[in-house]
Symmetry: C2
Subunit: 283 residues, 2 copies
């Protein structure tokens, strides 16, 4: 379905948009880009990741694109569509890379004119650095990609979005409802970022690097965090994230109590359970 | 000081004891080993990691060793010394690899006869697997090694223990009091293992592996945990570990409140603080 004569527009040429461009150009597509900084466009043009780029919206160019990928912050994405959806080609497929789905997907679908279709997608890959200069489509290798269709989507558009994930190089493509996605991501991604931030800020750690083992380094790698993006994602998913924090906290209190009471048997059974559950991830 | 004519005895030939043997043999020392399983001895002998091994204590052999390294669970270490310290050579230097220091170091030093000296050490390296068959002294490369001297130690013995860390290949050798070590390790290592166990057990995660990104995998790598060893280490360090859990929990509640109240500024300032603190570890 995603034949190589399709023209792809990427809106937002940062770490993720740039990595998409690199991967899709390598697959033989025509790739255009709109982004704020001329430097980002020049960088991607020099590397042959895009065929055309602009810092402003060109209505004529918009009308030539079959697939539009938004690699923008959620609030910027909504504003962009308000301003520019009128220029997009009838039948164009729109998708995104946003880390939160419910508050984005339904709003976008509600505001789109009928001739356009939006299918939400979440590439579960990233780096602790950002900007197109850090783009690298090898981050998709072995990673997960989640598509979040709703009742308003057509099977053809959902399948094309999944196909896009495969073309980008993702190892596993899944479908989840936006609600279920946000619950999962609240647990798997947002809670883990909360933990990393809390670990890094809950006490003086200035002189700790001489004493750290791998475990602390592993748990705080993601404590280097884009505060603008993640605070927005946290607050968009507030209720689901708070639920996940509370689940975590309740279990931490059970573990704490086992330690305080010297309940070696409970401690060991929790450790055996975590060991067997974690082993499934390493299969 | 640790000239190659010194004879080293390793008591407990598991992951850590085996890795010590491999590294020290490579440095040209004579290395003996006492451990429970003949299979472990055969494995190490075949690889040339030890010169001699036995599943039982040989009083004559004990009397020939200059340095004795205990790679045992804390309670086993204390019992072993009760039974066998009489056979050790006058002037022998004793050290260990135990992950907790206060409850071990002072007890050992109090029970030792005056002709023996014990200097506690903690190699901050490990793997999620165990046994001599997983031993690999490359885990020491780039890792930290902490020596925990007390007032009863001589400068010469402390320096020899530090020298041992360098010979094993550790990148950074530090000195901490046993109390300070246990506080640091309660935070850096034990709390992080608690978090991993809690993350892995606080909810059903059976079908999550299709949706995980790197962050969840990073934070739960250490959820595969040796329940016998870690429950013992947790309980030996109970008060200090509980303090660290409480510090973490208090900060998590601050972050939770910022999310619940939609306090984007507080969220972002915590994220910027964690980012700048974590950056120091990547220098």
């Amino acid at each position: 379905m995603l034949t190589k004569d399709k023209k792809i527009l990427i809106v937002g040429l940062g770490l993720m948009g740039g990595s998409y461009a690199q991967a899709l150009k390598r697959q033989g597509f025509t790739v255009d880009a709109i982004t704020r900084s001329q430097g980002s466009i020049d960088y991607a043009l020099e590397r042959g990741w895009i065929d055309w780029g602009s810092t402003t919206v060109d209505p004529v160019e918009l009308g030539t694109c079959d697939i539009v990928i938004f690699a923008l912050y959620p609030n910027v994405l909504l504003r962009w569509l308000e301003d520019n959806q009128q220029y997009l080609k009838d039948g164009a497929l729109l998708t995104d890379v946003t880390g939160i789905k419910g508050p984005v997907v339904y709003k976008v679908q509600a505001m789109l004119r009928p001739a356009l279709e939006f299918v939400g997608a979440h590439p579960m890959a990233g780096r602790e650095v950002y900007g197109v200069r850090n783009a690298d489509c090898s981050i998709f290798q072995g990673a997960n990609y989640i598509v979040t269709p709703t009742e308003s989507n057509t099977p053809a558009a959902v399948e094309a979005t999944e196909e896009l994930g495969r073309l980008l190089g993702f190892a596993r493509i899944s479908r989840l409802s936006p609600e279920r996605h946000d619950e999962m991501i609240g647990f798997l991604s947002q809670l883990t970022h909360c933990i990393a931030v809390v670990l890094m800020t809950c006490r003086d750690v200035e002189h700790l690097s001489a004493y750290t083992g791998d475990s602390f380094r592993d748990l705080t790698r993601i404590a280097r965090i884009n505060d603008e993006m993640w605070s927005e994602l946290f607050l968009l998913n507030r209720d689901k994230l708070l639920e996940q924090i509370d689940l975590f906290e309740a279990q931490m209190q059970i573990l704490r109590k086992a330690i305080a009471q010297g309940d070696s048997e409970l401690l060991r059974s929790l450790m055996r359970l975590s060991t067997s559950k974690r082993a499934l991830f390493d299969k």
